[in-house]
């Protein structure tokens, strides 16, 4: 009796599957789907904060207003830094998918550093506004502005913690191509905070 040899078969993952997880009912990664569901729900959070800001920003009757405190050139630089961090995050995902662990570490560290620069800029901006007379309870514009941009800053800070966690995992040798999906999921979160800032920068800062 001769052995039966199965013909060579290559299984291609469906789009959405990173290719290293276990089988799921949908054929796509549950972790990635969960992140997309979370991001869809986070749209509601930021939608509420942006619409509240739009509703309240011109209803202040005391204290300083947007025109008195905004420094558009400074905020533009911060926006550019956050936008470029999306590029470095995309490169971090691409490098781990290719199995290039060294470059992945470099891009993760760069993304975290750019995020840190953005947060430092926000702290500087808040401090300056406070010195110019805009506290959280000074007027309704201040409350809406600090709540909206503060929540965004909190999201960026959580993203930096996730990036640093990935970096530590990588330095301990626990982040190889088999964990590429973890990097991709953190990347989705990071790009989301970038697109939220794209909206905030236009709606809050650029439109008077």
């Amino acid at each position: 009796m001769t052995d039966v040899v199965a013909p060579p078969t290559v299984v291609v993952d469906p789009p959405g599957a990173i290719g290293h997880g276990h089988a799921t009912a949908t054929g796509i990664s549950n972790s990635k789907l969960a992140m997309w569901v979370y991001l869809g729900s986070d749209c509601l959070l930021f939608g509420s904060l942006i619409s509240t800001y739009l509703l309240l920003r011109h209803r202040s009757v005391v204290g300083v207003g947007p025109k008195d405190v905004f420094d558009i050139p400074f905020t533009s630089v911060s926006s550019f830094v956050l936008l470029m961090s999306s590029l470095t995050m995309a490169l971090a995902v691409a490098s781990i998918v290719r199995g290039d662990v060294q470059r992945n570490r470099a891009w993760l560290a760069t993304t975290a550093m750019l995020g840190g620069v953005f947060i430092a800029g926000q702290v500087y901006e808040f401090t300056t506004f406070y010195r110019e007379g805009l506290g959280y309870t000074t007027n309704i514009f201040g409350s809406a502005f600090y709540t909206l941009t503060g929540f965004h800053g909190l999201h960026v800070s959580v993203g930096i913690v996730m990036l640093m966690s990935l970096l530590v995992m990588s330095l301990r040798g626990n982040l190889g191509p088999d964990k590429a999906e973890a990097v991709e999921i953190v990347g989705l979160y990071w790009h989301f905070v970038d697109i939220v800032w794209i909206l905030i920068f236009t709606v809050v800062y650029l439109i008077p």
Binding site: T9, K32, S86, A94
Partner: protein, 128 residues
């Protein structure tokens, strides 16, 4: 039982997006190349520079600023979601889940703003 060869699968993956030659299909699903990511970032940077440029236009009406800035904002939003977040290449289910949340948020808060009379005469005067 279907049998496929590596060569066949690679071409099949590439055929899904014939317009994009700059994709890496080695892992079974498409990923833009590093160079494509850099080009996209340069485009996004250029659009941001144009947005910031509107700040220096003297006496621009709010209507004009909204008409110019909103399309640029939407383009940046869509480019980041399509390429950096891979929605262009990924499973359509992710796109549906995300845009369902986004459209729901837009609908809910347009209704909420209407309830608070955001689009009243003051708003129209503000636009003028």
């Amino acid at each position: 039982m279907s049998v496929s060869t590596p060569d066949h699968d690679t071409h099949a993956a590439a055929d899904r997006d014939p317009a994009s030659a700059e994709v890496d299909v080695e892992h079974g699903h498409d990923h833009p190349s590093d160079w494509l990511y850099v080009k996209i970032a340069l485009i996004l940077g250029a659009i941001t520079a144009l947005e910031v440029g509107t700040y220096f236009i003297q006496d621009a009406s709010t209507t004009l600023l909204v008409a110019v800035l909103f399309p640029m904002m939407i383009i940046k939003f869509l480019v980041v979601t399509a390429y950096f977040m891979h929605l262009k290449y990924d499973n359509p289910l992710f796109r549906r889940v995300f845009f369902f949340g986004l459209l729901l948020a837009m609908f809910v808060f347009i209704v909420a703003l209407s309830a608070f009379e955001f689009w009243d005469d003051d708003f129209l005067k503000f636009l003028r």
